[in-house]
Amino acid sequence: MNDGMPRVVTIREMIRETPAVATIRFDHAFDSLPGQFCMVWVPGIDEVPMGFSGADQITVQEVGTATRALTSLTPGDNIGIRGPFGNGFSPVGRVLAVAGGVGVAPLLPLAKEGSVATFILGARTRDELIAADILADQTDLHIATDDGTAGYHGFVTGVLDSEIDIASFDTICVCGPELMMKSILDRLALRNMEQRGQFSLHRYMKCGVGVCGSCSLDPDGLRVCRDGPVFSGDQISSSEFGEYARDAGGQKQKI
């Protein structure tokens, strides 16, 4: 055991990415691997898990009280950070990355370091695409929007089916809404390629360090915070993934 008190950092910059998503840069760079996450303490409100979108930044979507409080902060304000936690991505060979919405956050460092050959970026509409310029510079970028305002008209899986030969990639790194990730896992399973997929999962977390069990997956009891958050497709292909998750009290919620 070692001292895991939150490190208090000062916000240096608040970058508005989309109407509901902001990137928060702070005054300290953490030594994290792409896909690792931290617990972000918003003093007086709550603590929430968040993927690093860079060594000194997180990218936050406003979905609840704590995330709304986070994005309403301004430079000079302080927050607490515990982490980095979890295992991160471990890409080998030729890498395809697939992101939906704010799911691009943990994949961004992978693309920035030049590890991603092809990137499929999805969003509901053009205004909600995140980091498209950076990704276009670093990767062969394919865009999908639900309403057709940019790129392919439809889901990222439509791009996967019509524009990409998935079997030509050794690693497929995925982060986004769970049903999107599940439909990609299903496509890998059809080709017996589940082990090539690496999926960054979300579950309700309280401790972040593998003790409380609030993020345990059925049926093997894998902890998303400590055994994940990135799992290979074969680790989760027979799990609750895509079916249900649990709320703060542990009650099951259909996905």
């Binding site: 895991g4 939150p6 409100i45 607490g80 409380c212 009290g249």
Partner: protein, 295 residues
């Protein structure tokens, strides 16, 4: 080092696979998680504490690892009655259901949901950071006795987990024993807090919480020793145990078995790790060791 024979263990009416039990509140949140711990060497497992209504627990931060311990204020998050379905596939296993309530009636109600599937009950009369629950009633001997009586009436093994945050733990142990407890579990966490000096405010969302881990082992040991002098039901030691040597020391103080919680933070395989050092073919019988430091 002293080792034990790997004989069948029966403590407080429950047959365990070894002397090492998963403590309440640690990875006992789902059936799958409990099964993982049993497969990983835990001789029995205590569930997350289940209460009369579903609860989300305290706002975060809820847990802070420290040098030599964990500080937590989870706030008893639980799915309440729905949890019974989690245990359906564990009915034959040594799974002890931890329950809490604010009154003897609430303890009775929660216990009734698990009467057909639990190997036994553990009454949480000791959580230090839940208003109206846990230690709030577990420091009152009359309430401890009344709650224990309600649950013991189901006829299942009934363990009572005690708080160290009282002047004399033996008085509380005697009350539980008088209420029909088949074993006492000592101890729950010790009231504690940390402050972020930069933010000038407590770190835990609940401001204060409970300390566990190696830091509190000497406190737990002293409580077990005191209870052994005062009570006749078996005692289960809990608090900072992270090695086979700790287990032996706790048994010498009077524990018939132990619970392990915080040590899974360093290694989820801690049960197998400890068991591999604790047991040997030439080991002593537990009866030779338990309470020997009192002679």
């Amino acid at each position: 080092m002293i080792t034990l024979q790997n004989d069948p263990v029966n403590v407080g009416g429950i047959t365990l696979n070894n002397h090492l039990i998963l403590a309440a509140g640690v990875l006992g949140t789902t059936g799958a998680s409990i099964r993982r711990m049993l497969r990983g060497g835990a001789g029995g497992a205590v569930t997350k504490s289940i209460g009369p209504v579903p609860a989300a627990g305290h706002p975060g931060p809820c847990l802070i690892p420290l040098d030599g311990g964990l500080l937590n204020a989870m706030g008893l998050p639980n799915p309440s009655q729905e949890f019974a379905s989690e245990l359906a596939h564990l009915a034959e296993e040594p799974v002890i259901v931890s329950i809490f309530g604010g009154t003897p009636d609430e303890f009775q109600t929660v216990a009734s949901w698990f009467a057909d599937i639990a190997a036994g009950y553990e009454l949480n009369l000791s959580c230090p950071h839940a208003e109206g629950y846990g230690a709030a009633i577990g420091s009152d001997p009359r309430m401890v006795r009344a709650c224990t009586e309600e649950v013991a009436a189901f006829g299942l093994p009934t363990w009572v987990k005690l708080t160290p945050n009282v002047t004399d733990i033996a008085v509380i142990g005697e009350a539980a024993e008088a209420g029909g407890a088949t074993a006492l579990v000592a101890i729950n966490t010790v009231r504690a807090m940390r402050i972020s000096t930069k933010l000038r405010r407590p770190v835990l969302g609940n401001r204060f919480g409970g300390l566990s881990g190696p830091m509190i082992f000497p406190i737990a040991l002293r409580c077990v020793y005191d209870l052994y002098e005062a009570c006749s039901v078996p005692i289960i030691g809990c608090g900072g145990i992270s090695s086979a040597a700790d287990v032996i020391e706790m048994m010498m103080a009077g524990a018939s078995a132990v619970q392990i919680g915080s040590a899974v933070y360093d290694d989820i395989g801690v049960f197998d790790q400890i068991a591999s050092k604790l047991y040997s073919d030439h080991g002593c019988s537990a009866a030779e060791i338990v309470g020997c430091a009192h002679e």
